[in-house]
Symmetry: C2
Subunit: 367 residues, 2 copies
């Protein structure tokens, strides 16, 4: 194999596929990026068997062939090459010469035939969504997933399509993120569970441009995302997703509207008196049109008032600050609406249009 | 005590003195910042007994007094307050109320009388240097200090003044950084050893403006740096500094001039084939007017040519890449000059004016 391409194209391609290279694995071939030059197309591939990424880069093929190169070394080398044309040439022992200006690297490569490519996905039933919408909807939900991988459902998201509506749900047992977006076209019903890791990597690769589109193909066990020159294939999670809908009911006894920035800053300050690792609920007192945030720790105490517009009963509720801050960080509105029944029941942040619902369980507290 | 000052002034002051708060100590009073309001002046002080910093901030004193507050909590709180006037009021039990707009914090403080202030330095014999020069000279030498604190001399710098010349020297047993700068005035001879930690913190506080000046006062055991509204007092290291001068001799058998950027990039790339923690010398072959950099590891090999203008013999030398990169990073020149006698002797990077000399020991190697 012998190819020539620009440092920029090569760097971009390597950066994209590197996201599917597992950080730790006993199989050294999985730590490689496959470079394949065939029929005028240069393709880079990485595949950790759960998630596979393939992208094509522009360049000249002087000799067809392929090679698998260690992803870490390849990406470091490529990143630090001079900004010029790069020549990659592989000999029959897979010794790979990387040449750029007066710099020469020799890397010990592996036979590309040993590399497991992406599973073939039959391209029927595709769904189209803008890069911007997909990137946004992932960002707005993914923080509600559990870090604990032992429960696959809680570290994966539900993608549910019905006609021209896509619902995306993430939950970790303490909170639920629910987002609803409208698609341009109508599609047959789909209900799949996609690993959070896949979505996280996709959102990092997506440019997020509004006028660029992502095509999504669903199969029984896999999903394929196709955009720009990139294909991302991921396994789906098997099983039945949680019956989340019954938890998102519409009853409330207290509702208040509040400035998002003011609430964020207050809660952010309320965590300052906590020592590292110390968990203590923050208390929110809603009385008339004032919300009072307070906390008392070994170090001292903090109190702060924020104006609200309240409907319904006065209320005292305790909460974990991180859970509210996470939600406030992804909301675009300046004013937000919070609903709750009592101190023991969840509080819900949602808009009037039903485009988002965030559900958070409160914590117990003693005064 | 009751004072009112702007959030900005308070934040700046707290940030400055925080640099003298030890990260770990068994004495909780050392983890505090002393706020003292007296005779119209608000002073903040921190002191870890080796290094003490005092700064004054603008503000109104409504009631004189003092309090010692935990530095970590104080600085976090102050940083996140709304951008407005801050009121700090202390009661007879040192409970300190910090108030800003609708935010109230209560912090448990300590009696300021328990706080050890800065040692008194009699202000004779001062030396004046611009903030820019002091900041530069620290940056250009401090990386040659040893991280190992067991040898005080190798984690401290020599400051030697003779007439209108300041020499600053740092060394760690493998390399020496030597800088010489001209002062505006002539001074009596001074030769002191200043802890690297002190210099590091000073360089972070210095604005580095050319037209601002630092006054330095020397005493038997202490040095005082005074600039802007800040005083920094540090212990000096006792003992005799190394006889470094005899090592910086002028003999050479090979001299070459090279583009700094090209050399930096080449050496930087040569480290890419090293696995984490792997130490392997890089080999430099100087032949005619070409310098060839090469390395061979388990992963592959790298070769690169850089043009040089050479005087004297051809030479092959092996070196630790970090040692050269550290020096190249602080040099301002585009072209640099390297001198050496043979593969076993140190190589020296210096300019013609004698304003800097960097001495680096080579490493052994086998082809």
């Amino acid at each position: 194999m012998k190819i020539i391409c620009s440092k920029t194209n090569l760097t971009n391609g390597v950066n994209i596929v590197s996201k599917a290279v597992p950080s730790k694995t006993s199989l050294s071939i999985l730590q490689c990026i496959l470079i394949n030059a065939e029929k005028g197309v240069i393709t880079l591939t990485a595949n950790d068997t759960e998630l596979g990424i393939e992208t094509t880069i522009e360049g000249t093929i002087e000799e067809e062939g392929n090679v698998a190169l260690d992803a870490k070394f390849l990406s470091e080398i490529v990143r630090k090459l001079p900004d010029n044309q790069v020549e990659i040439e592989v000999d029959q022992n897979y010794i790979t010469k990387i040449k750029c200006e007066k710099t020469f690297f020799n890397l010990i490569g592996k036979d590309g035939e040993d590399f497991t490519g992406l599973p073939k996905i039959s391209k029927t039933d595709s769904v189209v969504i803008s890069e911007l919408s997909l990137k946004d909807v992932i960002k707005q939900t993914i923080f509600c997933l559990s870090d604990n991988n032992s429960n696959h459902m809680m570290s994966s998201e539900l993608f549910e399509i019905s006609k021209d509506v896509l619902k995306v749900v993430a939950l970790d047992g303490y909170r639920i993120a629910y987002r609803k977006i409208n698609l341009k076209n109508s599609y047959p019903d789909v209900k799949v569970i996609i690993p959070g890791k896949t979505l996280n990597e996709i959102s990092r690769i997506l440019s997020g441009e509004e006028n660029k589109e992502v095509e999504i193909f669903f199969e029984k066990n896999h999903v394929l995302f196709e955009f720009d020159n990139t294909k991302i294939v991921s396994r789906l999670v098997e099983g039945q997703y949680f019956n989340y809908e019954q938890m998102l009911n519409n009853d409330y006894e207290t509702k208040f509207e509040i400035n998002k920035r003011e609430l964020y800053d207050s809660i952010d300050r309320s965590t300052l008196l906590l020592r590292e690792g110390e968990i203590k609920p923050i208390i929110m007192d809603i009385k008339d049109n004032e919300l009072n945030i307070s906390i008392k720790t070994m170090v001292g105490e903090m109190k702060e008032d924020v104006s609200v517009v309240k409907t319904g009963k006065d209320l005292t509720i305790a909460f974990r600050p991180k859970f509210i801050l996470d939600v406030l960080r992804v909301l675009e509105e300046d004013q937000i609406k919070v609903y709750t029944i009592n101190a023991k029941s969840p509080y819900i942040i949602k808009d009037d249009e039903g485009s988002y619902i965030y559900f958070i369980l409160p914590v117990n507290f003693v005064r």
